[in-house]
Amino acid sequence: MSRSQVAWLLTFYFGAVVVGVVFQIDRFPLSWVPMYSNYKPKNEKTPAPEAASSTGTAPVPVSKPPKEHRVKVRDADEAAKGFFATHRDGTESRIGMHELNIARRNMWRLYYQRIFGGDPPKFKQANRSLDPLSRWVRGLEEGEPVFSADWPRRLFRSVNATLGLRPEDPRFVMRLEAFQELRYFGPDYELLRTETRHADIHWNEEWAEDFAR
């Protein structure tokens, strides 16, 4: 390559990188959001109803009570064992990383995030913060999300298809459950209580079309 060709190449290359950032494209190897950027404070100041002015002026922001810190607990062994599954024939089993032949980290994301409806960071970041220009380029309406997924439906499809099960099979997975401990700490970081959240998703027969061959 000649020197001027290299100059053009660099212009094009960095132009593409900048276009990716400007239009918020997150398609590897282009990315506008190279690190985890999503953060929403739990004790954000919000206008309380009683503080809103009756004269039509702006509501006065009022702090919520002292914050609690909620920590989602990950139990690596439990996540590896996997979902509590109920099959069409009524039997129950655990479906985990070994049955699905996936890595531990992938398994805990499915077990602690997707089954609870939790989106990957890529979804959250784009849905929360796409600029008007980026929305216009994608032809999105006001409030329309960039990414959306019916995670229960996708989970049933992934789990059953991986295990070679079709909707008519007696071993077809009809229900998946997961549990996660939540620890709540007070303003002085003392442990206040623990709770368990429970994800319980059921197969919908209308989704059988996902298995059409």
Binding site: F28, S31, S37, R74, A103, N106, L110, T162
Partner: protein, 311 residues
């Protein structure tokens, strides 16, 4: 003088001067072995998968898998890709069929990253910088120095300064962009509140008390726990993150070796602390900071020192 002319002169000064062919060749050797360590660290989780086991149907295939219609994992292909990736890294470092090796390495990275990220739908960004650096190497003449290719074909013209400099400066530019865009993305998504300390506090708490069982290393996790309870410290660390990411591009313009060493030492501490205290997986990023140094000059300096001590 026209504005375009001035820009061209500045761009030329920035991208086409400063390095020799030796520097580029040595950098390729470094990046080849670094890619080996980096990629093994990234894809270690795939090693345990059973090559004869079931193929997982992806929950959210990465975009290029969607385009190609790849909707499930092919388990036997993963260990094969890992072996090819390792061989390609070694070939890149040795400079054997350099361009082909780099292209193969990029393809294996795309495939293995696709497998890893499509299973649960996360798209990680830790491979962005190495990928772009390898892409730039692919377009350069990095295989013409310090390589098996160069020994096989000694008749090739030596690299001019501009040919050796632009790939290194382009890698530096991408790296500094990465950090700057990191800060811009945080501001776009979350606003200044990201840097207020709450995010740091959450990471530290999750790291320290977010595990069901004591998985070892409590002394370090205890440090995270203690730090999380000091809001002023978390706020200071948040502010430091902003300054660090926004300020990163200055290193592209610094000529002083001492300043660069000091800044990058700080950046290295930043990544190690992030990994140890908050579980952020950018631990190996400092290996890539070598692009900010002239490896040929360092080698010559070390040789001179060795000669002095021997003589």
């Amino acid at each position: 003088m026209s504005v375009a002319g001035s820009l061209q002169r500045v761009g030329s000064g920035l991208f086409f001067t400063g390095f020799s062919g030796e520097s580029l060749g040595l950098l390729r050797v470094w990046l080849g072995y670094t890619a080996l360590v980096y990629c093994l660290f990234q894809f270690a989780t795939l090693v345990i998968l059973d090559p004869l086991g079931p193929g997982f149907y992806y929950i959210e295939p990465i975009w290029y898998f969607s385009v190609l219609g790849i909707d499930h994992h092919i388990p036997w292909l993963t260990p094969v890709s890992l072996v090819v990736m390792v061989a390609a890294c070694v070939c890149v470092a040795r400079g054997t069929h350099t361009r082909l090796s780099i292209a193969v390495l990029l393809l294996t990275i795309l495939y293995l990253k696709g497998v890893r990220d499509s299973i649960s739908g996360d798209v990680h960004h830790r491979l962005l910088i190495p990928f772009h650096m390898l892409l730039i190497l692919l377009l350069s003449r990095s295989g013409d120095v310090h390589s098996v290719d160069a020994r096989r074909n000694p008749a090739r013209a030596p690299l001019a300064e501009w040919e050796a400099s632009w790939p290194i400066r382009a890698m530096q530019a991408y790296l500094v962009f990465f950090y700057l865009f990191g800060a811009i993305a945080k501001l776009r998504v979350s606003g200044l509140v990201w840097f207020g300390g709450g995010r740091i506090e959450g990471l530290l708490m999750s790291r320290s008390v977010g595990f069901a069982h004591d998985v070892g290393g409590w002394s370090l996790r205890r440090l995270s726990w203690e730090m999380a309870q000091i809001p002023e410290l978390c706020a200071f660390l948040g502010f430091l993150t902003l300054v660090f990411e926004v300020g990163f591009p200055v290193i592209f313009f610094w000529r002083s070796l001492t300043l660069r060493v000091l800044f990058l030492a700080g950046a290295t501490v930043f990544h190690i602390a992030n990994f140890v205290l908050a579980g952020v997986q950018f631990l190996l990023m400092p290996l890539l900071f070598v692009v900010f140094f002239d490896l040929a000059a360092i080698r010559d300096r070390l040789r001179a020192r060795r000669r002095r001590s021997a003589g």
